[in-house]
């Protein structure tokens, strides 16, 4: 038992151990994004589809599923954040600057992971306050309750909340900036998962790089389509 805890301890403290945990928590977040996007895109299927989805999500597993997902995501996010901040601090401490700095092939995305990551963090805090905790708005009020076919009681009007939320210009602009930086973050993160978990080789490196960009661009297109449709083209108003 002592040897077990010592080995796990040195894994947690090692550079490779930390990176593997960053990759594993990254996978959890990579899997969450398409699921979140698929749900959000129901806004284009009309109010009832999106509101029905909202009800389904909150009632799944008698209301427990959403909490498992929230706690799981929150833990993954916090571990991902703490370890990357630790690793970045160690990286800065290990480096001595050159008078004539140069970059041969490191991508811009890979060099700005900390900045894109911290912007995403700020956005997620804002996003949760905006739509999940609904602070500083009236999204929990009577005007955001609606009827839904097949339901006796009134349900939360997710559709109206989304339309009103993105009709406010600053929210949409911040959203677009954050999702664009997320795309940059994912392009490097996706390919890095394979290398860090040791399943990349010369045979697959080009493929994992392309898949990373394809994934990032699909996620970007999906997420930006919503504020663009609502804020610029007035969808739903």
């Amino acid at each position: 038992m002592k040897s077990f805890t010592r080995t796990i301890g040195s894994f947690w403290n090692s550079s490779i151990g930390k990176k593997i945990l960053v990759a594993l928590t990254g996978i959890a977040l990579l899997l969450f994004l398409p699921a979140h996007l698929a749900g959000n895109l129901l806004v284009f299927a009309g109010p009832d589809a999106l509101n029905e989805y909202g009800v389904w999500l909150h009632e799944l597993g008698h209301g427990t599923a959403i909490w498992f997902a929230r706690l799981g995501l929150l833990s993954a996010f916090i571990i991902h954040l703490i370890l990357t901040v630790q690793l970045t601090a160690a990286n800065r401490a290990a480096r001595t600057d050159y008078a004539y700095p140069s970059t041969v092939q490191a991508s811009r995305s890979s060099r700005s992971m900390m900045w894109s990551g911290l912007t995403i963090l700020a956005f997620i805090i804002y996003h949760l306050l905006h739509f999940t905790l609904r602070v500083g708005n009236d999204y929990d009020g009577e005007s955001y309750q609606t009827t839904l076919p097949g339901h006796q009681e009134k349900v939360h009007n997710v559709y109206k909340m989304m339309i009103d939320g993105f009709s406010w210009t600053p929210a949409s602009i911040f959203y677009l900036i954050a999702v664009t930086l997320l795309c940059s973050h994912l392009s490097h993160g996706f390919a890095s998962v394979f290398q860090t978990l040791g399943v990349r080789s010369s045979k697959t490196s080009a493929l994992s790089g392309k898949l990373g960009w394809a994934y990032a661009i699909i996620i970007w297109l999906g997420f930006v389509s919503i504020p663009i449709a609502i804020w610029i083209f007035g969808y739903g108003s």
Binding site: S14, K19, A90, Y100, S110, H188, G198, S205
Partner: protein, 250 residues
């Protein structure tokens, strides 16, 4: 050709360094980069100055002793080439060339362009070896090794331990060096018995020497004079995860 050199000068390990300017006149195009510095040094010495100190040994591109970060790129602009094999014909007449040491916290500057790379030796001491009876030579092919494994081991063994990977890395990570040295042995049956211990102790030593962490940007691969591939880093990551599980659970 006439060149302007901006060179890092540093008195000793504790002193702070600075860039100084030198005018290198009438340098033959066929001179190697180190020969160019030899010419500049002869002139400095004849003028009674302190020559520019730099590391070198075989000057054949195989010993790993020469270093120099030239215009921000370790071993200079030519791919898969050590500084000693880089020739002045790859530069333009009248060019300004920036010459700095292999900078990293784990490679402290000893004097001018010479850095202390013994951190690499300590990583090798931690596990970059196999324990065998050192008597008469074993018969060739006594142990059958698949061609593919032998090739991969040989590719990793081509690492000359120069430290360019650390100098180029945005995080001063030694992962390319350590992974090449570990893969070289881990690919072979002779390296198998000590594989778990090797991987764990080499990585622990690498971390304690103050190298940074790999962020998969592959600057190391781009500057490596022996073109060691990043596949070795993936293998070390994999071997480290497996070694941890083996150590913790079995």
């Amino acid at each position: 050709m006439n060149l302007t050199l901006k060179v890092w000068r540093q008195e000793n390990r504790k002193a702070s360094g600075r860039m100084e300017t030198y005018h290198a006149k009438d340098i033959p195009q066929e001179a190697s980069f180190l020969e160019m510095l030899d010419i500049v040094n002869e002139r400095i010495i004849s003028d009674g100055g302190d020559p520019i100190h730099f590391d070198h040994d075989c000057r054949e591109g195989i010993c790993g002793m020469c270093s120099l970060t030239i215009n921000g790129i370790p071993h200079g602009p030519k791919r898969a080439t050590t500084t000693c094999q880089l020739h002045m014909r790859h530069f333009q007449d009248g060019e300004t060339i920036w010459i700095e040491p292999f900078h990293a916290k784990a490679f402290p500057v000893l004097k001018d362009l010479i850095v202390d790379r013994t951190a690499f030796d300590r990583v090798i001491e931690a596990g970059g070896f196999i324990s065998v009876r050192a008597g008469s030579a074993v018969d060739a092919n006594a142990i059958p090794i698949p061609k593919q494994d032998a090739d991969l081991a040989f590719e990793a063994a081509a690492c000359i331990g120069c430290g360019a990977c650390v100098a180029a890395c945005k995080n001063a990570s030694a992962m390319l060096f350590v992974s090449a040295k570990a893969s070289h042995l881990n690919h072979l049956p002779q390296g198998e018995p000590e594989k778990t211990r090797r991987v764990l102790s080499m990585v622990a030593r690498m971390d304690s020497e103050g190298f940074g962490n790999c962020t998969n940007q592959y600057e190391c691969v781009a500057v490596c004079p022996k073109s060691i591939p990043a596949d070795n880093i993936a293998k070390l990551n994999r071997d480290y995860a497996l070694a941890t599980m083996k150590e913790a659970l079995l």
